[in-house]
């Protein structure tokens, strides 16, 4: 992109946002007068695909882009901070590349947000009236924060080179950007939280306490879940970008850089994903405590199948990640020494994956149901939480071991206690595996409350403790280690890059399906138990239909992302490295 000064950049951002908001309000005003009045119960119908599918696609696309522009700044600023403290030019470049990505993605995010802003009040006026009545002030706060965030974002980006001698201040601006992002996230999560687990209103929907309408059961758990998931997703998209750039690179230097960028992004993504099951449970517990009917529906009822789907997809993601790490051994001098361990890691991964995707509710023919009964004597035991948690923790442990092997594969320890260190490593890995398995078996014998509130956290605790112990051990053992050779960045087969793209596509699809589930939990309510959905769409679509919609919007999302990547490359070609003016 052509080099732009800070002032011009800020003006551009301000104009873009104001124009988009202006378009939104003008459309709302005009459509409100041109279109026929809403039906008696407060709906207008979107042509051909219906209002629900239209809003579904637009909202999910907006959420995908929002997740990206809120998630990426977190690690972009972290990278910049590290580059500043370590005076590492490569980290600075990657931080800048991340920033370039999310700054440009803001425009698409805001544009889709504008379409959503027009669509909701036009198609669902009665529901939006209610939302404005209850949470109206948060909407105005949202607009203000959005302006501030965009301005801070543009300033952060366009001042990159100008402030290169004042990195501390620049990192602080990045920190402010993230604070704004978190506030935006909290505001939007309060809307969804209110719709799903409402509070602060009477049974007829009259406002009693605005603060309680904001501070619902779901608010904080959902915000935490989204915050972590945004980082996972944002880093995944950044990894895809790097993979794409790697594949189309024409020089070894570019390939080396994008290989490293892809690796760094993928590790950030998968590293943060380790926290997701825990915060997911927190969200689940809150939903159950709000309404066990909704909890059962989401966990064991109509939506139980989506957990099987989720297991299949997350299993595939972990398999892709491990594959990427195993294939990366090829570029490490000395990496070939570790190939002999890969088959064992693979077998454990495969077994864990098999347990994880074993469904509790199984699709059966009448004949199968007659022979098997309600539950299969073996599969029934693998389909429950005790087995799933154990499998998840073990596969995460394997993934960490794959990462540890990759990191140490080009080094040889020189400390005198290296043999003892290796023995300790085996003890930690074997000990934590046995502990996780034993807790898993014991989980079958206790009540669900003990299983969820006590044993599951202990299982994850054992995992985190063991990886911390391994981290410390490796840091000590490989201090001043003999380096066999530097990693040959860029010497990766192209198929490894498709694995990175595969991870992100899977994440995106999964996010769509989980969104359908979270939204479907409300059943025929706009605001659960308060505002009934009386539109023609007041029924839960089938999983098959949801899968089709999610697939279509995943394709649209990646088409838009492709355009973004292409746009960045085109502008880079036009104006050198482009972007912010030095």
């Amino acid at each position: 992109m052509a080099d732009v000064s800070v002032k011009k950049g800020l003006t551009k951002g301000l104009i873009k946002l104001t124009v988009l908001l202006g378009i939104g309000f003008i459309f709302l005003f005009v459509l409100g007068r041109l279109l026929p009045a809403p039906s008696e119960d407060g709906y207008r119908v979107f042509p051909v695909i219906g209002s629900r599918v239209w809003v579904w696609i637009i909202a999910q696309l907006h959420l995908n882009f929002a997740a990206f522009v809120l998630g990426v700044p977190i690690f972009a600023v972290s990278m910049e901070y590290l580059s500043w403290r370590r005076s590492d030019g490569r980290l600075d470049r990657i931080a800048y590349d991340f920033t370039k990505l999310f700054t440009l993605a803001y425009t698409i995010t805001a544009s889709i947000g504008t379409i959503l802003l027009i669509s909701l009040p036009v198609l669902y006026p009665k529901f939006m009236d209610h939302m404005m009545r209850i949470l109206g002030p948060t909407w105005w706060l949202y607009i203000v924060v959005m302006y501030v965030e965009v301005m801070v974002c543009y300033y952060y980006y366009y001042s990159w080179h100008k402030m290169k001698n004042n990195k501390g201040a620049h990192v602080a601006i990045g920190g402010l950007l993230n604070i704004m992002g978190v506030i935006m996230l909290l505001i939007t999560s309060s809307w969804v939280g209110y719709m799903t687990t409402p509070g602060g209103v009477s049974e007829t929907g009259e406002l009693i306490s605005r603060w309680h309408a904001i501070k619902t059961h779901m608010w904080i758990p959902l915000s935490i879940h989204r915050l972590v998931a945004n980082v996972v997703f944002g880093a995944g998209i950044a990894a895809s970008y790097a993979a794409y750039r790697f594949i189309v690179s024409e020089t070894d230097e570019d390939r080396a850089y994008y290989d490293w960028m892809g690796y760094t992004s993928a590790m950030i993504s998968i590293g943060f994903s380790l926290i997701l099951p825990g915060v997911g449970y927190l969200l689940g517990v809150e939903i159950y405590s709000f309404n066990e009917q909704m909890g059962i529906q989401l966990m064991g009822g109509f939506f139980a199948w989506l957990w099987v789907m989720q297991a299949i997809l997350i299993g595939a993601i972990l398999m892709f990640v491990n594959y990427y790490l195993w294939i990366s051994l090829n570029k490490m001098p000395g990496g070939e020494r570790y190939f002999k361990y890969v088959k064992y890691l693979f077998i454990v991964m495969l077994l864990g994956y098999a347990v994880w995707l074993t469904p509790h509710s199984i699709a059966l023919s009448l004949d199968e149901a007659r022979k098997m009964g309600t539950y299969h004597p073996v599969l029934g035991n693998l389909g429950v939480m005790a087995a799933k948690n154990t499998a998840v923790v073990i596969t995460y442990l394997v993934t960490f071991l794959s990462f540890a092997i990759f990191k140490m594969s080009n080094k040889e320890p020189v400390v005198s206690w290296a043999k003892l260190g290796n023995a300790l490593r085996i003890i930690i890995v074997a000990g934590s595996t046995v502990a996780v398995l034993a807790i898993g078996v014991y989980s079958y014998m206790v009540s669900s409350s003990v299983r969820v509130k006590v044993l599951s956290p202990i299982q994850f605790g054992v995992f985190f403790l063991s990886i911390i112990a391994l981290f410390i051990l490796d840091a000590k053992m490989f201090k001043n280690a003999k380096i066999i050779g530097a990693p040959r960045w860029g010497k990766m087969p192209e198929r490894s890059q498709y694995a990175l793209i595969g991870i992100t596509v899977t994440f995106t699809w999964l996010m769509g399906m989980m969104g359908y589930m979270r939204s479907g939990g409300r059943q025929y309510w706009h605001v659960y138990g308060i505002i009934k959905d009386t539109s023609p769409d007041a029924f839960l679509p089938t999983h098959g239909f949801a899968a089709v919609v999610t697939s279509i919007l995943t394709v649209i999302f990646f088409a838009l992302m492709g355009l973004l990547f292409y746009g960045i490359m085109k502008l880079e070609k036009k104006g050198g490295q482009g972007g912010a003016k030095a």
Partner: protein, 267 residues
């Protein structure tokens, strides 16, 4: 009678071992998949057969995972692709090319199509919902009951716990045991007359996963109260509100939890 599936598993294993010796990853991959399929199908000789849906999932997972496994190292991946490349490109493989590409694959695709479209008298496979979602409110003999947050009132009277369980036991043997069994394992005298068979209460995956309010709703309303997604055909459970009082339902629930050592889900 020849048990075919263990034979298939052994054939797969032999192919796999042979191809390890001959260093042919492609046939190793094929052998492993054949062996896994044989093993999964062989399960029916020692336990109820694995449902075809589960076998399909395991096979898809194995295919995906082993494929990526064989592509980790460059040489292995090249050797893996070699048989396919040879069939498509080598001049001396023309006959094999005709047999596989122009005859074998179309015939296989035709067979799959035939299997897919051939008329069948079997009812379609149903994605059964084992834990249908309860309503937030129900009526019990005309009395409105909030299922949401509903608690067993008898549990508050801890002093009479044993008495209630004993009374619940009598109710169970007068009403439930014919289907759910003497040992509460779902194997009552009449159980095989139903499809799906009645629920076992033992184990960790049925009532242990459910709050008492859910069980109260299911016992009271039976198949008639199932939501549309679960379909009335997926249960033969009678509506026990027609035969039992509210208190009797709670007592029998206390008995089935107590005698199986399970505890109601509390969140």
């Amino acid at each position: 009678m020849l048990k075919i599936y263990p034979v298939i598993a052994i054939i797969g294993l032999v192919i796999s071992i042979g191809s390890v010796i001959r260093k042919s990853p492609f046939f190793n991959f094929t052998g492993i998949l054949v062996c896994i399929y044989g093993l999964l199908k062989s399960a029916e000789y020692v336990m109820p057969a694995l449902p075809s849906q589960v076998i399909l999932m395991y096979m898809a997972m194995s295919f995906f995972s082993f494929f990526i496994y064989f592509s980790i190292q460059e040489e292995t991946f090249k050797a893996f692709l070699e048989p396919m490349r040879a069939v498509f490109a080598d001049d001396n493989k023309a006959l094999l090319r005709v047999l596989i590409v122009f005859i074998g694959l179309p015939l296989f695709a035709g067979y799959l199509t035939y299997v897919k479209v051939k008329p069948t008298y079997d009812p379609p496979v149903s994605a059964r919902i084992v834990h249908p979602e309860p309503p937030s409110q129900m009526d019990f003999r005309g009395k409105s009951v909030n299922v949401l947050g509903l608690e067993n009132p008898l549990r508050k009277d801890a002093a009479n716990f044993a008495k209630y369980v004993e009374e619940g036991k009598k109710i169970y043997y007068q009403n439930c045991f014919f289907c759910h069994g003497d040992d509460l394992d779902g194997k009552g005298h009449l159980s095989q007359a139903f499809n799906p068979v009645p629920l076992p209460f033992r184990g960790t995956d049925t009532i242990a996963q459910l709050p008492e309010s859910f069980v109260f709703w299911r016992v009271s309303k039976g198949w008639r109260g199932l939501p549309a997604g679960s379909g009335p055909w997926n249960s033969s459970m009678p509506s026990f509100e027609d035969f039992l009082t509210e208190e009797e339902v709670w007592k029998v629930i206390m008995f089935i939890y107590d005698s199986t050592g399970n505890k109601p889900r509390s969140w």
